[in-house]
Assembly symmetry: C2
Homo-oligomer: 368 residues x 2
Amino acid sequence: MKIICNRSKLLERINIVLKAVSSKSTMPILSCLILEVNNDIKLITTDMELGIETVVEGEIIEPGRIALDAKFFSEIIRKLPDDVVTIETDYDYNATIYCGKSKFSIVGKAGDDFPSLPNISRNTSITLSQFALKEIIRQTVFSIAYDENNKIMTGELFEVENDVLKAVSLDGHRISIRKIMLNNSYPSIKVIVPGKTLIEVSKILSGNVDKFVNIYFTDKHMLFEFDNTIVTSRLIEGEYFKIAQMLSNDYETKLSVNKQELLSCIERASLLIRESDKNPLIINVNGDNMELKVSSKAGNMNEDVNVVKEGTDLVIGFNPKFLMDALRVIDDEFVDIYLINSKAPCFIKDKDENYIYLVLPVNIIVNN
Amino acid sequence: MKIICNRSKLLERINIVLKAVSSKSTMPILSCLILEVNNDIKLITTDMELGIETVVEGEIIEPGRIALDAKFFSEIIRKLPDDVVTIETDYDYNATIYCGKSKFSIVGKAGDDFPSLPNISRNTSITLSQFALKEIIRQTVFSIAYDENNKIMTGELFEVENDVLKAVSLDGHRISIRKIMLNNSYPSIKVIVPGKTLIEVSKILSGNVDKFVNIYFTDKHMLFEFDNTIVTSRLIEGEYFKIAQMLSNDYETKLSVNKQELLSCIERASLLIRESDKNPLIINVNGDNMELKVSSKAGNMNEDVNVVKEGTDLVIGFNPKFLMDALRVIDDEFVDIYLINSKAPCFIKDKDENYIYLVLPVNIIVNN
């Protein structure tokens, strides 16, 4: 095998496939990338859940295939001068890398034991902008659970209904729902995507509004196709939680607040709370006033937040992390918070329900 | 006690004193800062080796003194809105912090067990720019040893002779020497400054060319005075190594190379060397050619570097880290390297010997 390519472009492509290289696999071959040269120059990696295949621009002198330690190869390419890189392999799977006056020889492998990526039929698909996909992931993926005992919670529901894509994640304390409009109507799709897949795909996506992603679905897999790159992923099997019954449009109190002001105030308040103590953040809505309070071993804090209130007064307690996580991903300047009573879930949502963040309150002892 | 000050200015000052707060001291009081208000508002910290005292601009309503957990206090001030901060304490050492609509109450201590900073007489002193001090530290401190069995190696020699300040550090494999001209002549001074002191002082210094530092010396201590801040430090007792006899102006080979080109080449080569393997970087000077080579279990690399050579050919091996450390702190575009033979130390130095970096070679088996 012999190829010639530009060092920066090669490095950019290596950085993409590195996302599916597992550092702690028991199969040594999974720490390798496959450099496969036929009609094009391809880099391939997989951690058995996630697979990535991307095409490198370059000149093919001789086809071939080699497995190289992915991290080591990436470090070498990173340190090379920004010039033309020639990579040549011999029959013993030694790879020689020439760049400028520098010459590296490293030992590769045949890679016959490298698992092949699933062959996914491209029938059912949707298309959306890289920006939209990156946003919908950012705005929901923070509330997946990392509890491997409940596999379904470690994934996200991706549901397509006509021209709407809905993503849902939940972890037992909160639910995040985000809807976006697609440019076309599609047949119904309902799959559970591993959270890890979404996190890695999101890192690779440029986030460009004018660039598109095709997503293909089968029973057991999905495939993202964009920018000369293919990411395949297993789906999580099973039925997702029925969330419709957890949602409600009733409320007794509606609060409209400046998002950044509320977020900064909760961030300050949470300084007093140690993870182990679990002291709640108390929100006391009284007349036209909204007071946030925390009291812990470390000290206590209270602060008034400007609010436009509709409805009744109440006192309610929260784990401040859950409120902060939701507020951080909302781009609106003002947010509406809907409350029923101190035991019922709180909803942060916009008028059109493009986003809905449900957060369960925590029990507090109210002494007035 | 009651004071009023600007939140940003207070935070800037807290960040300075945090440098002497030890996270792993067995004396709980050392995790505190002292807020001492008399004629001015002072913050004081110490880890018993290093002490920092800095003045905060602000209005004094009532004098007093309190010890507050330094990290916790700094986190609170960091998260406050950028506004006026009022700090008030009561007789039980509770501190209340008001800022905007936010109110924090935290528990402090009397701080009677807080060790007082050494009282250092201000007789012997030198003055230099913050820039010069920061530079001389950066260009030498990397080669102190961290071996507590040889206390003297963990420090740096600071030697003043007439109008020259010389800093020296060494770790058994290399010596770094940097000289700077002072604006005045001073009586001779020779002290060993703890490396940690220099690292922390360097972080606090603004590096401004127009701002000055006064350094005072006594037998056991030194004191840095700048920007309303005082840093005191113990000195290391003992006699520093006699380095004059390790230096030499003889050479058989002189190489002039582009610093960045050489550094990049060594950085690439060192990718092949695992810390545990200790394979050397081999420099082969042959005719007008200088070749760098590495051969290890991971692979091998060779590269030619442009060089202007004077003298004889030779092959010599190095730990590449030591060459990289020295080259990284040299600001010159071209460097001169002086060599005698494959067993003798290598010198990287400028013509006026404002800097001298001695690096010992490693044994190599030359098979030609």
